[in-house]
Symmetry: C2
Subunit: 428 residues, 2 copies
Amino acid sequence: MRITEMHITPIALGDPPLLNAAGLHAPYCLRTVVELRTSDGLSGLAEVPGSVAVDQALAAVREVVIGADPRNWHALRARLAERCAPETSVARGDKPWDGRTRVQVYSALDVACLDLQGKAYGVRVADLLGGVVRERVPYSAYLFYKYEGAGGELGFGTDPRATGWAAARQRAALDPDGIVAQAEAMVAEFGFQSIKLKGGCFEPAQEVAAIHALRRRFGPGVPLRLDPNALWTVETSIRWGRDMEGVLEYLEDPCRTQAGMAEVRRMLKTPLATNMCTTSFDDLPGSVRLGSEDIILTDHHFWGGLRASMELAAHCRTFARGVSMHSNNHAGISLAAMTHLGAAMPNLSYALDTHYPWQWEEIIVGGRIRFEEGAVVLPAGPGLGVELDRSALARAHAAYLRAGLTERNDEIEMQKKVPGWKFAATRW
Amino acid sequence: MRITEMHITPIALGDPPLLNAAGLHAPYCLRTVVELRTSDGLSGLAEVPGSVAVDQALAAVREVVIGADPRNWHALRARLAERCAPETSVARGDKPWDGRTRVQVYSALDVACLDLQGKAYGVRVADLLGGVVRERVPYSAYLFYKYEGAGGELGFGTDPRATGWAAARQRAALDPDGIVAQAEAMVAEFGFQSIKLKGGCFEPAQEVAAIHALRRRFGPGVPLRLDPNALWTVETSIRWGRDMEGVLEYLEDPCRTQAGMAEVRRMLKTPLATNMCTTSFDDLPGSVRLGSEDIILTDHHFWGGLRASMELAAHCRTFARGVSMHSNNHAGISLAAMTHLGAAMPNLSYALDTHYPWQWEEIIVGGRIRFEEGAVVLPAGPGLGVELDRSALARAHAAYLRAGLTERNDEIEMQKKVPGWKFAATRW
């Protein structure tokens, strides 16, 4: 079996005006869909965060992908490594999100090749990762402070005909009451049984008040998490971490660097999670030496694929770290891949993050993937178990061309609302 | 696909009177062959070190193996873990070889299930481990001090008609000259391009003299290794390690414990390898904290299978350890499994150990696996690419019944030659 075609399709999906440490989500989020086709007529899919940089990096490896055997990941990965420059220029953690392109190239090819293998062998991707531990993979509600508006073709407008979660998704949430209302609507729609709040938007007192308001509303049976995206100092992290002791399931990346996290960790009982201070295998020796976190949030897009994320899970088992999953905006191919990974990971210790409720478009046959009691039922396969809806993909690609965006830049988007707003690596 | 039958067959293969830290090899080495059969008529094979304890442990999990899906290792492993007691009573390193049964049960089922998967999907086991990095897997010559004699049905006698390596294999090797002659014959027969000497038999001066004699005979182009099996003190290890600086590719387990190894490592430039101080995932945090070795020698029989050994390789990459492979006496099913693992391991950094030249019987169709320039060409598959020779298996099982051995006990065997001989954990 040989790869004969590689298609790289940038797409844009509507996204509401969500606030975060980096600024404001644009009306569109960008993704790139990779499709591999083989000599025996199979199609393998993957999806990665979209940017011109990633698209160019993917295009640059096309000549080593064409002709490769999708069953031999080690051989393909070695050739990709020769073609993709090491990312010495991007110090992860300095940027508000992960801009490393090499790991995203690995991820796209790893996932698409696993999809091909699963289809060739008649099994699910989770089977190829060692076997299914759980058929239902739990996700958490992912709350955002937001401005009023829907995003996408509607820009920052709203659709007055919307009902239920579709209506709630358009409403502003700029204080604890707004966050609680958002949580109620999201939990009612998807059945989530744990809740994460994206912080780093307002001063800590306000965000901590939102956590306490969620606790009062949902009670101790619903685990809560707060992610200030490393915008707090060590002192602020300890001060407000103490305020939330016994309330949070975990506190995610309150501050920057492994050393900073380790200092906070020594002073709090609440577990610390990260997808910013320990983000690659190269970071693991430092994590072990310093004891910088309790839980590592993998993301197969940034750890180099599903197999690499399984290797991370093995490291977490060895070094007594919990493991769960980070997310950016994504469509159904990524949700399927995340679900196969969550299904196969023996030591998955927390419900996974997903932005999925914030989108409404889809590029896969059958449309939006459904949640049952907060969980996604593992697709039946073979492979990832999802197929491209080619006309939906064409629409999303047309939206990409119309949107004219070349990368995610939440700072510029924020400046449209708050002139002169600047990203700060540490704010409080 | 479901497992419908599980066959556990203890066998004995002839083995010469090889000396080692634990005493003397008996005229037979014991192995246990596991065969799984599935509802669709496939047969999956594995081989583990033989003992009544391992056979009983395998028999005790039969009821969770029957009915299991061989494609779901995570599910089967979780059920095996419930049935196999944790091995709190065996402190690895205190015994001269690895007697833990749980990891051997895992290994047998992991390998046999991968063999089944490969056959079901029409691919090699190495493909299922992530892909083939090398089609030819290099092994090293494994030299032993030995008494004269052949082993097996011949007992400690010799066959005067033997020629070449078969003749050399019968000869005594009790000093440096004998070791050099053994190396010459083994290298001539198999084409090995690196050489390991099993030490821990004579006082260090004699074994170090043998290493220097090998160096003089083969030159600096043939890497040399010495394995005193942890019988030296820290002081002895440093003293004789210094004597061999620049001569050894690595020094394997000169002394006991991670702390001892770390102390020796600080004082020597020669890399240290281990299969005695870091032998499980539970040992890895201590290895990282203390810096106890440069190279970890995996052995899929003792690390819990081929997939677990790939996880170990990932840890070795993360923590800048080299990785290679330990061996005990084995037959062709194990050699095939070791070769698939060696073929798939991206960061394999040294030629693998194998006892294979010391045996002459085989239980697989086609008989003895051939070496080309010291390497085994990866079997073409599917699965492991080997099939049982059922009459040869029956003969080896009959030999097991005649031999009357229930476990490996080199101390008793040594006492037949040297009355009153006692194993000592530290000797020099």
